[in-house]
């Protein structure tokens, strides 16, 4: 097994002439938590969508576990164990919390095209789903509609659902966006815990989160890689400081949210 789990070469995305992501070379080491940071509009989320095939690349190559995945479909990427989250909270609002998690477990059956079978077949996944919910502290909410959950709990549910797929690698898009301080700390703890034995690539705006969490950090600015390394190295980089100061003053240090 190679040391690098996910790798891109010359990954480029153009939208009608506008270069959103330019020649990005990214190497994510197995078993690490890798942060992808950058000021607004740096191309972080676009990168994410390229890696998970929600957008096709204009040029370049993406490989995962030594396999070229540049031209796969998003659902197939997920089946390879590379599972993403979304910046906006991604739950199924009209399904119950339990059903949300069960949907991920249900996928293990293969394709669920058996429209003539009763739903009660899915009860076999209930105990595993409850375990996962307990893990993120949502046991008491199992029978509520996911749409009724407060924001922080939705994110917790999303992580439980992602974990249900037993992903080899998780891609988390701003897991703490829009959260209160308490919630940020809980999510950081949760991510740390679930990262054991996995690889995590994390897009984050909140530098405090990145500092405490990531082994390696890649800084993007205007679609290109500006710097790469551990937090200390990256945060001292004058170019990085300039990029952050230029567009988003006050975060060059590690001071956001104190």
């Amino acid at each position: 097994m190679s040391d690098t789990i996910l790798e891109t070469e010359g990954m480029t995305k153009e939208f009608r002439g506008f270069v959103a992501v330019s020649d990005v070379r990214l190497q994510v080491k197995r078993g690490t938590i890798h942060g992808l940071i950058g000021p607004n509009g740096a191309g972080k989320t676009t990168c994410f969508n390229l890696l998970t095939k929600f957008l096709p690349v204009t040029r370049g190559k993406i490989s995962y576990e030594g396999r070229d995945i540049t031209n796969l479909k998003p659902a197939d990427i997920a089946r390879l164990g590379l599972v993403r989250s979304f910046q906006i909270s991604a739950v199924f609002p009209h399904l119950t919390v339990l059903e949300n998690v069960r949907l991920a477990l249900q996928r293990a059956r293969g394709n669920s095209f058996d429209f003539w079978r009763p739903e009660s077949l899915l009860k076999q996944y209930d105990s595993r789903a409850m375990e996962l919910l307990e893990d993120v502290g949502l046991t008491g909410y199992a029978r509520h509609n996911a749409g009724e959950l407060p924001y922080g709990r939705k994110r917790a549910l999303e992580i439980a659902t992602t974990l249900a797929l037993e992903p080899t690698m998780m891609l988390l898009d701003e897991p703490t966006a829009g959260m209160t301080h308490d919630d940020v700390d809980r999510i950081v703890t949760l991510v740390k815990r679930v990262a054991a034995g996995r690889t995590v690539l994390l897009v984050e705006h909140n530098l405090k989160v990145v500092e405490g969490l990531c082994d390696t950090i890649t800084v993007l600015a205007r679609g290109a890689v500006l710097a790469q390394g551990d937090y200390a190295t990256v945060s001292r980089n004058p170019e990085v400081q300039a990029a952050y100061l230029g567009t988003d003053p006050g975060i060059a240090g590690s001071t956001q949210h104190g």
Partner: protein, 331 residues
């Protein structure tokens, strides 16, 4: 802010229990279903069977349509194509080939489903208004095909379709006898749709309706699910059309016209989108209106228009949706 925190687990009481009683029905749904069965069984002794047959055929058609809009979130504006082609094929098979009614009905349903494969394949590439426009355009192509093709009888349609003998044994020429076939197909179709919605497959459909990107990111090839739902819906619409052709003994261009596609939207909307009983109630309301207000001639359309506007403005959940909301149950 305790509300937004993750660890404190003190949720309120969960909402009303959704425990299934039989066949995936919740308790109130089971009661409503039994009431429906009783009505279906008793009404031919009170009301004209011919009118009831028409009502049940449209009810099944609306249920088939609702499978797409209510549970996958896809608004088809071309369901007349499957309904009408189902009617033409079953009518033609019964009249020209003299097949037995059950074969004619199956052929009609198969026609709807087969037509749904390429049409659905094309349409599910888009969502929202674009999906509706593609389905409409494809249905218009079917309409013009039906105008030109000799077997449809053009403007005359296929008339005096023989109902024949069910399984070659039971004579269906009386409306009363035919009614039980229609009732059987309707109840069977209704139960099938309910099962589809409450199957492992239906669970994925609802997830796609709620949040398709998330379903994809969980590894579901959502296009395959949408196509499957589309074909099921088209097949059931074809089934409704096929039964209608035998029951009314006529298949005409009206069945494939875009106004028919519009009518089924209206029925589902008035009854309640995404409720299992809504389309039935909506079809009953619209068909009853069309029949008993027929003396007002073209004014029926105006009255329908007013009802449509009222439904959208005042009771957006539809008849059944509003009742369910009042009783705090899911129907």
């Amino acid at each position: 802010m305790a509300e937004g925190s993750i660890a404190t687990a003190s949720p309120g009481a969960p909402p009303a229990t959704d425990e299934a009683t039989f066949f995936g029905f919740t308790r109130p749904q089971a009661a409503a279903f039994l009431a429906l069965v009783v009505i279906v069984l008793a009404s031919p002794f009170v009301v004209y069977p011919f009118f009831l047959m028409k009502l049940l055929c449209f009810a099944l058609f609306a249920c088939a349509f609702n499978l797409l809009i209510g549970y996958v979130g896809l608004l088809s504006f071309g369901h007349a194509a499957y309904f009408g082609m189902g009617a033409y094929v079953s009518g033609y098979a019964a009249k020209a080939w003299g097949v037995t009614p059950e074969v004619a009905i199956l052929l009609g349903a198969a026609t709807g489903a087969l037509l749904g494969i390429p049409f659905g394949w094309l349409a599910i590439r888009r969502t929202g208004i674009y999906f509706a426009m593609i389905t409409l355009a494809l249905a218009q192509m079917v309409y013009f095909f039906c105008v030109q093709a000799p077997f449809t009888g053009g403007e005359d349609g296929i008339q005096a379709i023989p109902r024949g003998h069910l399984f070659g044994i039971f004579d269906l020429s009386s409306d009363f006898a035919m009614y039980w076939v229609v009732a059987g197909v309707f109840l069977g179709g209704f139960l099938l749709i309910h099962r589809v919605v409450h199957s492992p497959f239906g669970q994925v459909l609802k997830a796609i309706r709620d949040n398709e990107p998330r379903a994809i990111s969980l590894g579901y090839r959502t296009d395959d699910y949408k196509l499957m739902a589309f074909v099921l819906s088209a097949g059931l619409a074809g089934l409704a059309g096929a039964v209608k052709a035998l029951a009314m003994r006529i298949a005409t261009l009206t069945d494939v016209l875009w106004t028919m596609s519009g009518e089924v939207v209206l029925m589902s909307l008035v009854g309640g989108l995404g409720t299992i009983f809504g389309p039935v109630a909506g079809a009953a309301a619209i068909v009853t209106m069309q029949t008993y207000l027929a003396e007002f001639g073209a004014w029926v359309l105006v009255i329908q228009g007013v009802i449509f506007i009222a439904a959208v403005l005042a009771f957006r959940r539809g008849i059944v949706g509003e009742i369910g909301n009042l009783l705090r149950v899911k129907l």
